[in-house]
Symmetry: C2
Subunit: 113 residues, 2 copies
DNA sequence: GACACATATTCCCATATGGGAATATAAATG
DNA sequence: CATTTATATTCCCATATGGGAATATGTGTC
């Protein structure tokens, strides 16, 4: 048996760094393909293919508007990843410290604007 | 460019379901290879190779004892996965979160005038 | 040393890949 | 309709895969 298809599940789809970047880009607002291409500085066909993979595993949704296709992230689709990782949370070392650190970072970001 | 190596990072390593199973098995206690082979009902070479991948990306540690090799999970290694997923937490359509958001919106509206 | 046991490595192969180039499809515009 | 714009699809190929079989390596035991 060969390696599983990238479209077989969320884990395989998100193994590719570009696709994680794309998903992050689409988290806050829907964007047309061209904007993603410009943001990631990669060929348009490449981006379109990545979007196809994300679509197949349900991580993004599309809406057609004229000749544009507006993509947006479907954050719920990431839960399998999160759930898996979360089962290891209790084994992390310095857990309390790290949580505290991240909370503080967040606080700073909020106040920085 | 072809697909990235499974050993290139945690995301690629954990795209394979067997490797996630192995990691879950090793979360609570270290185990010799044979025990994993028995638990997952798969060929020993296959398991050894999976362990090799997990080792290379730092998700497991090994300890040699006689002719056994005791493997244990290194839970800290999963944090990249967790951190990535966590950035989408706020977008989840979870009931409590929604209630909270609506409360905040209301609050803002009240103060906006 | 001869052997059994535990694990890793090598060899094999069908399969999916990601990117670039070229091309196709579709919609707006003149 | 011809052309431009936006996006998807097809074709190409070097590359890594996961599993099984066979083999190698290492370690206890007699």
């Amino acid at each position: 048996m060969a390696r599983a298809a990238t479209t077989s599940d969320v884990f395989n789809a998100l193994a590719e760094p570009r696709r994680r970047e794309i998903l992050a880009l689409l988290a806050d607002a829907e964007k047309p393909v061209g904007e993603i291409v410009a943001a990631l500085a990669e060929g348009q066909p490449s981006i379109s293919k990545h979007l196809g993979v994300l679509r197949k595993v349900g991580l993004v949704r599309v809406r057609r508007t004229g000749r544009h296709r507006m993509y947006r992230a479907n954050a719920d689709g990431i839960r399998p990843l999160y759930d898996f990782a979360k089962t290891f949370e209790k084994y992390w070392t310095h857990q309390l410290l790290r949580v505290k650190e991240r909370a503080e970072e967040k606080e700073q970001k909020k106040h920085r604007r």
